[in-house]
Subunit: 130 residues, 2 copies
DNA sequence: AGTGGTTTTGACAATCATTCTCACTCGGGC
DNA sequence: GCCCGAGTGAGAATGATTGTCAAAACCACT
């Protein structure tokens, strides 16, 4: 198995940087538009590719909005979940050790292996009107 | 506000029935194909519309597969979560009262209102190879 | 059973995020 | 500086979902 060389390109840095500086979840399309308008020529396909790679490496979190769009966010720390405001998009990272344990227990009880889980909580934050 | 009459059509029954008889999550496309091939003429758009309605009424559960396809499943009982086999699609419904409480608590602590959450656990079940 | 007014349907076009294609470019080891 | 394969990008392709709108079906009323 030959390990593929990992080149460091301007585009990849740009995407990673843009994600790192953003607070909230961002769609690939948005990211592309933002990079473009900030004088950073980059192809849409490249944005998608880079995001996939980053997500695969666990450097960013991915989740799907209700309308089927994938959104990305830079996430440094280990496993955690998200509390998202449906109005303004504000995101709070939360941890729930008991949830992890519960999921593991349930899985074991049903004979499931290699288990992963996703948990998202969406609501309206205190700064947004009803 | 005049309440729109709810007509009972052959197509709607067919979709509801097909969902009720199915065990696992099914995509709209699959459902459409299955209805068609079982001698039940129905339009794709109608399948989507009906599924949306059913989902809105809380008669079916919706979730998104990793590749962005919406899948539907008939779910009788109240709020619960799913343990899904990534290989064969087998689905186990599970409840987690403590998870609900945890989610509520976290939300309250962060000042969120009108909170909903989604939790899916995926793994490989005991009957599927690694 | 017939009629009318409205909802629902369905074939097809349109949309839209994402992926594919493939010729071209550039990073970096020599 | 040279080379070559990984990386890029413009546009086409894909594929699920939604919109359109004339035609069909439903139901209340006679």
């Amino acid at each position: 198995m030959v390990q593929t060389p990992k080149r460091l390109t301007r585009q990849q840095s740009a995407v990673a940087e843009a994600l790192r500086s953003g607070e909230d979840f961002t769609s690939a399309q948005d990211l592309h538009a933002r990079l473009r308008s900030s004088g950073n020529p980059i192809g849409l396909a490249t944005v998608y590719r880079t995001l996939q790679t980053l997500a695969g490496d666990g450097d960013v979190d991915v989740l799907r909005t209700d309308d089927g769009e994938s959104v990305y966010r830079h996430c440094s720390t280990g496993h955690h979940h998200h509390l998202v405001c449906r109005a303004c998009g504000k995101t709070v990272e939360v941890e729930g050790p008991m949830v992890e344990k519960w999921a593991d227990k349930i899985s074991a009880q049903n004979g499931f292996r290699d288990v992963r889980h996703t948990l998202e909580i969406i609501g309206t934050c205190s700064e947004c009107p009803a």
